[in-house]
């Protein structure tokens, strides 16, 4: 269109060609993304495929659930799975119960102390876990909390506290204060307004905080490997790692355990995918 002879109204004709060209580009895009996704997911597909392969010396061939059954019945994986579930769910409940009121104060309070606490949470969030682990180990040893689920739960709740408080605060920000004010006029106390008005309308915020804490607890390796001493108390990450080191030649049972460990986060994520965007990203980032 740089030549002077091309009339200006020729522009629409290039637009008319576009739908067709766009159509082809779309299919190229689909092909490209299919290939990329397939390559990215190779390590995860490998876990599933290997978990479905028969164990060495089991005499089976093809794909079978026998390895998974073996892992669940003949090894300690089932105990580790129970430990992991107990620790993660308890951490999630405690974290939400502690973080929701704190988030309310962060959201509604406006004193210097509140902003100071918010800054403290921000600084604490950046500290490496290694710094905490050693002194806490010594402290917990005195309190008989080493090698117990309770010890892990306390650390996981504290570890997710900063982000959990902010997530709750971010969600409470989106709830208009006029709602509480109406309740206060009707004689509701501050606490009553928080529980009956704000918290009742914050299910997405509570759920995304819960998902976050659950994943922190479920996925942690470092705290667990330092604090858990006896095999019977292991959570899945430590258990899987021990299992992997002992059975490095027979990948079936190792990957079956890995599959057990990978499923809960994926299920949570698939079922509550929506809340990842509602409470976390979409609500706060987009539109501001």
């Amino acid at each position: 269109m740089s030549t002077a002879t091309t009339p200006r109204h020729a522009a629409p004709s290039t637009l008319e060609v576009r739908p067709d060209r766009r159509g082809t580009t779309r299919w190229w895009g689909l092909a490209l993304y299919t290939v990329i996704t397939a390559v990215v997911l190779i390590p995860l597909v490998a876990v599933v495929v290997l978990a479905l392969r028969p164990r060495q010396g089991s005499g089976l061939s093809g794909y079978t659930l026998e390895t998974i059954g073996y892992v669940l019945t003949q090894t300690q994986s089932i105990i580790w799975l129970e430990n992991s579930l107990l620790v993660s769910l308890a951490s999630t409940v405690v974290a939400v119960v502690v973080a929701a009121p704190a988030g309310y104060v962060l959201s509604r309070g406006r004193s210097k102390a509140v902003s100071g606490y918010s800054l403290l949470l921000f600084i604490v969030q950046g500290f490496p876990v290694v710094v905490f682990v050693i002194p806490l180990f010594i402290l917990f040893a005195r309190l008989n909390l080493v090698d117990t689920p309770a010890g892990l739960i306390i650390i996981y709740v504290a570890a997710s506290m900063s982000v959990a408080c902010w997530m709750m605060a971010a969600y409470f920000d989106s709830i208009p204060v006029t709602l509480e004010e109406a309740a206060w006029i009707d004689g509701c106390s501050l606490f009553g307004g928080f529980v009956r008005v704000v918290l009742r309308n914050s299910l997405p915020g509570v759920l995304s905080t819960a998902i976050f804490t659950f994943l922190v607890a479920w996925n942690d390796y470092l705290v667990a490997v330092v604090f858990l001493r006896s095999t019977i108390n292991y959570t899945l990450p430590v258990g899987l790692q021990t299992f992997f080191q002992q059975n490095a030649t027979d990948w079936g049972p190792v990957m079956a355990t890995a599959l057990l460990m990978m499923l809960p986060p994926i299920i949570v994520f698939a079922a509550l995918n929506r809340f990842f965007s509602v409470g976390g990203i979409g609500g706060s980032l987009a539109g501001r």
């Binding site: 993304y33 996925n219 501001r288």
Partner: protein, 330 residues
């Protein structure tokens, strides 16, 4: 306290609220407490007590589990202790010994490389994929969910699987490399290759976080801006560098800072894949501190390393945090 990879799974939006809570007197008008409805002094006091007791449990936890250990670590770092004893006071000997040791600087160097590759590698991949998805790939919601999986799956699982893929000469990837005529490639036995593998693994784990962040930021960019740019004759590259990037600058800074913190503090990604080897080539500062304490039982040295790391991290992130707030105000 930031733990393993997934820590930031939903963190991004949260940072927005932090930056706002820092200056409550700013543009964000704060609501009045019920005291404003009927203000009597006893009622105000009662409400203060309610607010304080609402936040108290979290303060106790944060102080006991987060602040106390840092205080304790500060004391340990100037003592010649072991895991169970405090040991003698040695002043800043631990720090000077650490700062004079080549192993410390080697792991500092690897931490830096690992962080730079982790931040910008995952950002580039995440942004590219987000831009593609925005351009309209059929079935993009499916791709968006599938591409998030590396971030959702526990790091222990993916490290195990990556081990299966690359660790030994008979693993699939080395086999493939051999079939393609590269000879026998030992990904985790050669120092340089192990460093590259760990960095690629980190990018694989982290790019979904960047995909989430950039997708959310891109959604807030108005389509009309692009149309206007196209009318003005801007080509794709110009549109990208002069419109898209500036418009997502704020969330980009936030995601860089968060990812930098994740990378510097990252333990499992490195430790589970290589254990810090071969010959300490992939030992980052965190892994170095861990080994000093739990393998060599040199608590003083280990804590000193962690302490130096924490201090520099706090300084860097405070500076960057200021930058964000500035970018936010402009």
């Amino acid at each position: 306290m930031s733990t393993s990879g997934t820590t930031g799974a939903i963190a991004p939006g949260v940072v927005e609220s932090v930056t706002r809570h820092q200056h409550p007197g700013g543009d964000h008008s704060q609501p009045g407490l019920p005291g404003g409805v009927r203000r009597t002094s006893s009622r105000v006091r009662r409400e203060r007590i309610t607010m304080a007791s609402l936040v108290l449990p979290s303060i106790i936890l944060v102080v006991l589990i987060n602040a106390y250990p840092v205080f304790y670590a500060a004391i340990q770092s100037v003592h010649d202790g072991t895991l169970t004893t405090t040991g003698d006071f040695v002043g800043f000997d631990n720090f000077s010994t650490i700062l004079a040791s080549p192993a410390f600087w080697a792991s500092a160097r690897f931490t830096l490389v690992f962080t730079i590759v982790g931040v910008f590698g995952s950002w580039a991949v995440g942004l590219a994929l987000a831009l593609g998805l925005r351009a309209g790939v059929p079935g993009r919601s499916v791709f968006r969910v599938l591409l998030l999986l590396p971030w959702v799956v526990p790091i222990v699982v993916s490290a195990t699987s990556w081990n299966w893929l690359v660790a030994t000469p008979s693993s699939p990837v080395p086999q493939l490399a051999e079939a393609l005529g590269f000879g026998q490639v030992l990904f985790l036995a050669n120092p340089l290759l192990a460093q590259i593998t760990v960095c690629i693994f980190k990018v694989w784990v982290s790019f979904p976080f960047m995909l989430l962040m950039t997708s959310a930021a891109l959604e807030s960019v108005d389509d009309n801006v692009y149309q206007a740019a196209r009318m003005d004759g801007a080509n794709r590259w110009q549109t990208f560098t002069q419109i898209t990037l500036p418009m997502i600058a704020r969330s980009t800074y936030i995601s860089w800072i968060l990812m930098a913190i994740f990378c510097v503090n990252d333990f499992p990604t490195i430790f589970l894949l290589t254990g810090g080897g071969p010959v300490d080539a992939t030992t980052s500062l965190v892994v170095y501190a861990y080994k000093l304490v739990f393998t060599n039982f040199q608590t003083g040295f280990g804590v000193a390393v962690a302490f130096l790391m924490t201090v520099s991290l706090v300084i860097v992130s405070t500076i960057l945090y200021r930058q964000i707030r500035k970018a936010g105000i402009e």
